[in-house]
Structures are given as C-alpha cells and as structure tokens.
C-alpha cells in the first residue's frame, strides 16, 4: 500500500471511526503531570511533545491484574468459573519505535512452551501505530541496542510527523487492513508534505552487545564482585520492572475471602526480595545486587539466547523512573569490557 496522510485535526475522524467499529483508541495523554497511554475520545486530549509515556503499552496485552477464574464455596461444594478473555480491538497511537519492538519480545515469552492465551488473544487485537521520534532525551539509547527512531520492528503502521499531520506508512497486513478499514480518515500525501527530521540518539560509548552477551554467558562472570559494586544502590522497588516494556514476570494468586474470590494473574517483579523466597526460608537471590543481576541477565542473555529476541529495547524508562538513578547503560558499558 502506498503512503497516506492524516492531519492532526483529522485524527478526530479516525478516533470516531475506530470507536464506531467497536474499538478503542489509546494515545499519550497528560494525567497528573505525566504523559501516559490512555484511552482517548478526541484528538485534543493527545499530547505531542513527549519523549515516552510513563507506562508501557504492554499493559494492554498483559494487564497488571487479570482475572483468570472466580470461585465460590457453598454448602454443596466449590464452584469454579473460568473467566472468558475479553480482548478488545485496540489501536495504540504514538508508540515509539523502541517500544514497538517490545510486543514481539513479550510474545516470544508467552508462546515459548505454552501458549498463554490471556496474552496472545489480546495481542492479536492490538494495532500499533508507531511514531518516529523527532526528539530524544539523555536517557534514550535505542541506537545502542540496534534500534533507532526509524526502526519499524513490531509496528503495524509507521507514522512520521510533518508540519500539520502525519505521513502514514502501513507495514504489516494488520496495518494495511487497519488503514483500509478506516480509509475515510486518510488522504493521499499532498505534494510538498515533508517528514520532520528524526533524531538520532548517540550510541552509548563502549557498549558492545556481542561482547556483553559472551561475557554474560560465561559462568565465572556471574559471581563477579563487580555486580555488587555497580548495583549496590538499587533499593529493590519494582519501578523499573513495572515500567519496562519487556518485563513479563507475573504471579498467580487467589484473592478474596474463604467463601468467594478470584484467581488473578498479577505483575510481579524480580526486584522484589520475596520473588525467589522459598517456603523453606532460603532465598537464592538474597541480596539486592543478585536481583538486579537477574534483571540484567534477563535482558541481555536470556532473551537473546533462549527466545532469540530483543531483551532491552533502549527506551530508557528504567533510568528515568529509578529513584536512585541506577543506569542500565552503566552496566552495559562495564560488562562490555
């Protein structure tokens, strides 16, 4: 399909058209002094000068809390009702190219040995409209992990900002189908309509992903005292994991009373000290640096070797949100040498 065009005002038409077909339109909006992905009903709500929203849009396919079943205890016994997965057609507008690459990574985890339908059914219904970045901040490092503001991995439709609108490039079948389904909202690209120049965040000096991977694969490095030195300040909150687009850990828990309640799949974080606590009281990751090491290993060793996908997409969220400003690129540099 050839490129199309949509003006900023024209977004209202697209939003209405998506809604009319029963879908929802998620975009970056301002909420409590932060930019977050949220459902919108008009183009005016959407902000356009943002680097990255605070939250990752992974929560559309992998919600923080998901009800798997409901249980009830009565005189006659226990009843368990599985809950049907309600996957809604969802359009994510303005996803950054780094983050767009993340859903595929999550998919590789959720379909590895078992197809986790709570994820796949929702993911199938997500259309990602990525928006090339014209601005970046100190924390962005997509270029260091072989992505860039121009990458299209994971995106269904690529958008590029122009003076008053966006040039629309459908990339996948899903994307083409989306643009055709809402064709009234798009026009042909007028002559002279020019894409704004994309930024090109500087690569972090001294990072070599191949070396890094090789080093992590060697077991003596696992016990290198450097880990403790570099990550001693980590306070073990889940802020980085809960904002990261490729963190995927969850816990299944029954919550309610003794008589009725729900079985829920909740986000969990390897940064919590109880994450690996055994019933015996033994904790194999008994200090914080071991937990941080796990997160790092997950991104740069487990994802690439076990799932053959990108672990860290370089969005920089974990750096921005970290209350002690632990910078993952510092570790990448240290572990590359």
């Amino acid at each position: 399909m050839t490129d199309k065009y949509i003006s900023k005002d024209g977004l209202n038409g697209l939003i209405a058209s998506v809604k009319a077909s029963g879908g929802r339109f998620v975009a970056p909006v301002l909420d409590t002094r932060q930019v977050v992905y949220k459902e919108v009903s008009s183009a005016e709500e959407i902000v356009d000068d943002y680097i990255l929203p605070r939250n990752s849009y992974k929560e559309i396919a992998f919600p923080q809390t998901e009800i798997l079943a409901k249980y009830e205890l009565t005189r006659d016994g226990v009843t368990i009702d599985p809950v049907e997965i309600v996957a809604r057609d969802t359009v994510v507008f303005g996803a950054r190219p780094c983050e767009a690459a993340s859903l595929a990574s999550l998919n590789s985890v959720f379909t590895w040995d078992f197809i986790d339908e709570t994820f796949t059914k929702r993911q199938e219904k997500v259309v990602v409209l990525s928006l090339g970045c014209v601005d970046a901040d100190d924390e962005c490092f997509c270029t260091t992990v072989n992505l860039s503001p121009a990458s299209t991995e994971g995106s269904d439709v690529a958008l590029y900002e122009t003076e008053n609108g966006y040039i629309v490039t459908p990339l996948t079948d899903k994307g083409t189908a989306f643009v055709s389904a809402h064709s009234d909202s798009f026009t042909d690209v007028a002559k002279g309509e020019e894409k704004k120049e994309l930024v090109n965040p500087e690569k972090v000096e001294g990072v070599d992903l191949t070396k890094l991977g090789e080093r992590l694969a060697k077991s003596p490095n696992y016990d290198n005292p450097e880990w403790a030195e570099l990550t001693r300040k980590c306070c073990g909150c889940g802020a980085c994991t809960y904002s990261c687009p490729t963190c995927h850990c969850f816990d299944i828990i029954d919550e309610g009373t003794a008589f009725e309640g729900e079985r829920r799949k909740n986000w969990d974080a390897c940064q919590f000290n109880h994450f690996t606590l055994h019933a015996s009281g033994h904790n194999p990751r008994d200090t914080q640096y071991k937990r941080y090491r796990n997160r790092f290993m997950c991104k740069f060793h487990i994802y690439p070797t076990k799932f053959n996908s990108t672990g860290c997409v370089g969005c920089g969220r974990c750096i921005r949100v970290c209350p002690v400003r632990l910078d993952i690129t510092d570790l990448m540099t240290a572990m590359s040498s």
Partner: protein, 155 residues
C-alpha cells in the same frame, strides 16, 4: 447522607456492624447482658480479642472491605486493662487512625470507640442500640460497596 440514602436496598436496611472487643471487659459485659436476658439490636457481630492492644487498624479495614456498614471497637476502661496498658496504647493508635480515616473521607460515625467494663451490661445494650441507630441513619456504606464492585484496572 443524601447520596447514600438514595440507593434503596431491597426491603428494610439492616446494617451490619462489626464489633472488635477485648475478652476481659467488653466481652464480659456483653455476656452479662446476655445472661441477664437483656435485649438489644441484633445487627452486631462480635469478634473477641485478648485485649484492645491486639486490635490492628487492618481489622477495621478488613471489616469494611467485607461489607460492614459500621465498626465498633471497645475494651476495658483506662486503668482496668487486664494487661495493664494495652488500652492506653490502643487509644494512641486510634487517635492517629481515626484522623487518617477522616482525611480519606470516611465518616467517623462509621467507626466508633468505647470503653465497656464487665459490669456495664446496660452501657453495652445502649451502645449497640445507638450504634445501630447511627448506621441506620447513615444507610449502607456505599463507598466501600461500590469500590468492591469495581473490577481491577484491567487492560
């Protein structure tokens, strides 16, 4: 409570009141009311604890989460605690907790505190009747009930 009164429950509203009481005074007082065949409103469910010092603010939260319309906390009069000082500590804790609850918008009539001794069966009877009247006037505790109905923030 205009907005809460509007929400009509089916038939007559029978408030559910959760009472956390200490074993040595208030529970004994309630027991005395029972053995003396005094009648009082049946809306209260009593949970007996060793001492008011054992009443964690979480108990109050849990009671509301599980559908209580009101909570009553009661124990020995100051100076009479079986463990000497449990109720003095409890009093401090309640002082802070009630302010916190009020700050979050919970009407303090929903959480009531009292001292009832082992001999004060009459005070117990009056207390329960009054608390029940208060809850009837306030209506069902819709704030929590509505919150319970809400699903989790799902994608």
């Amino acid at each position: 409570m205009p907005e809460e009164a509007k929400i009509e429950t089916e038939g007559v509203f029978e408030p559910k009141i959760m009472a956390f009481v200490c074993n040595w005074c208030t529970y004994a007082g309630a027991d005395l009311a029972g053995t003396s065949r005094m009648e009082y409103r049946p809306n209260v469910r009593i949970i007996k604890l060793p001492c008011t010092g054992r009443i964690d603010p979480l108990f109050i939260m849990k009671a509301f989460e599980n559908g209580a319309d009101g909570v009553l906390v009661s124990g020995c009069h100051p100076g009479d605690c079986h463990y000497t000082t449990g109720n003095y500590h409890a009093r401090r804790r309640w002082t802070a907790f009630k302010d916190l609850l009020a700050f979050t918008g919970i009407d303090l009539k929903r959480v009531q505190f009292s001292w009832v001794s082992a001999s004060e069966a009459i005070k117990w009877v009056e207390l329960i009747n009054n608390v029940t009247d208060d809850m009837e006037a306030l209506g069902p505790f819709m704030k929590f009930k509505e919150m319970n109905k809400k699903g989790p923030n799902q994608g």
